[in-house]
Symmetry: none
DNA sequence: TACAATTTTGAATAAATATTCCACTTGTAG
DNA sequence: CTACAAGTGGAATATTTATTCAAAATTGTA
């Protein structure tokens, strides 16, 4: 890494990169104990982010006060200020990106561009989170169940409806038999009896959860039908009446949630199911 | 996530998964404020990991003492003990991220995880592209036209249908009058005469472009109605019969395209229109 | 409607944590 | 060898932070 000129300036570092650069520059002229701090900090950034001065000092073999002097040498007010930089690094760069954009948003009033920029940033963050937090076991189970099912019944109202209607279209295009359950005129309940034991019910529901959807899933589950659900929290009432639950946290802006991340997962699901069916039909 | 029986035991959770499961089980019997804590914790685990009781309580809209009670309800000694679980999750995750990505890269393209990882990566790329290439003038014009319209008529078939049905729901929630045009039984054409001059027609269509949609847009445009279109190319046949055209390039994997980026744009559009209407109604 | 039980609040308190300060040590130049 | 500066340790302090508790509000019930 080439040395950063910013590190020579005297004001406090604002991100992890400039902090590292600053340490690199100053380490030459550091006395023994401060160098010990520097080495420990670079080797254990997580510990700095989460520990207390006493803990860290103990682990690094110095006194708590030395840790404070170390932070001050780097240009910080004290240890706590330096710690925040390490904490920010721990949470991830995606957060920083979001913060920058939302600051831009705050400065100008809700211009269309800033709203879009904000949603883009949040969606990217939400996608990262999906990659990290997705329960691959639940995903595999869902795909397997959907691949085996004779007919896939799809249910989702309000914000979840676009998700199931998309699956209806995409799975249909792949030759999978799907049945999009619509809620027109309260006849939904009776439909549960037409769901076969070889079928599967895919339910999408997000807070605030529609009672009709939960009821329907509950009845189907009671009849022994495989219920695969996609929801936004383990607190979802549909979780208790599902064979498998997949969780997805959507990007939001104020009270409004996107469907960006959910659609990404839905598409993957559809492709994976189509793929699994292809292998099945060949064997 | 599949339900965890361990959550029923009474000793303190030792990892993030069992903590989530515990919350899921206990949430039924939780009073209002504790439920608030539960929801906030599941939605903002990072904040719990790094914040102080005062900060977190403020953000979650409860008292610091309520946070402590929440932790105790889950079986912890106090808030600090619970916080350690969240911190552990945070550290584990940041190490896991690159690991998980490289594992996905190594595995073939047929495993569910790799399909999802692929879509996530492509969606993020596609979102970046949207931020860079979006035509802000067209975006502004579209928002302005939709904000002015008396009724917004929404049209989209196949893969575009989830987009307009989402707009129908979200705009409706904001008190905007929308009319979702459905194509059941070929009576669509006649509907064009019910579109007022003060109305707007929002059309979404992607390759392969449905002729019915293009025809309808063409007729409406001929009658002097504002036609705002969302499509995937300037070569789209709908572009020639539109007042304003917005372009979005969706993430794809083989022959299958997601709706991730499109939904991000649609959400922003809805929020911006809702916002613009609010200002209008106040003046 | 009134009573009991539960839940919430917010100030008081206890615990912990960061920071400061000064005596002491170490290294160094004259 | 001395004197001086720089660096260090650790107790003392100020600050922040978690936790407790009793009064008030809410909820459920007879």
């Amino acid at each position: 890494m080439t040395q950063n000129l910013d590190a020579l300036s005297t004001d406090t570092p604002t991100d992890y990169e400039s902090l590292k650069a600053r340490i690199g520059v100053l380490s030459d002229s550091m006395p023994k104990r401060l160098l010990q701090c520097a080495k420990y900090a670079l080797a254990n950034p997580d510990k700095i982010a989460l520990g207390t001065t006493a803990e860290i000092a103990g682990a690094a073999g110095v006194q708590p006060s030395t840790l404070v002097r170390f932070a001050q040498t780097l240009g910080f007010d004290g240890f706590s200020q330096m710690q925040q930089i390490f904490q920010g690094q721990l949470v991830g760069r995606s957060n920083e990106y979001t913060e920058r954009l939302s600051k831009i948003r705050e400065s100008g009033t809700n211009t269309p561009g800033s709203i879009l920029g904000n949603f883009i940033a949040r969606s990217k963050q939400s996608l990262d989170e999906l990659l990290l937090q997705v329960d691959t076991i639940a995903l595999d189970q869902t795909i397997e169940a959907l691949a085996k099912a004779e007919t896939i019944h799809l249910l989702g109202l309000r914000r979840a409806f676009p998700v199931v209607s998309y699956l209806h279209y995409t799975l249909g295009k792949m030759g999978v038999r799907t049945n999009l359950l619509e809620f027109t005129g309260g006849i939904l309940e009776e439909r549960v009896q037409f769901i076969n034991e070889n079928d599967a019910l895919f339910v999408a529901t997000f807070s605030p959860y529609s009672p009709e959807v939960v009821d329907f899933a509950s009845k189907a589950f009671g009849r022994g039908v495989k219920v695969l659900s996609l929801t936004d929290s383990v607190l979802s009432p549909v979780a208790r009446v599902s064979s498998t639950v997949m969780e997805v946290h959507e990007a939001e802006h104020g009270a409004f949630r996107s469907l960006s991340t959910t659609m990404c997962l839905a598409t993957s699901l559809a492709v994976a199911v189509g793929d699994a069916r292809k292998w099945k039909s060949l064997s």
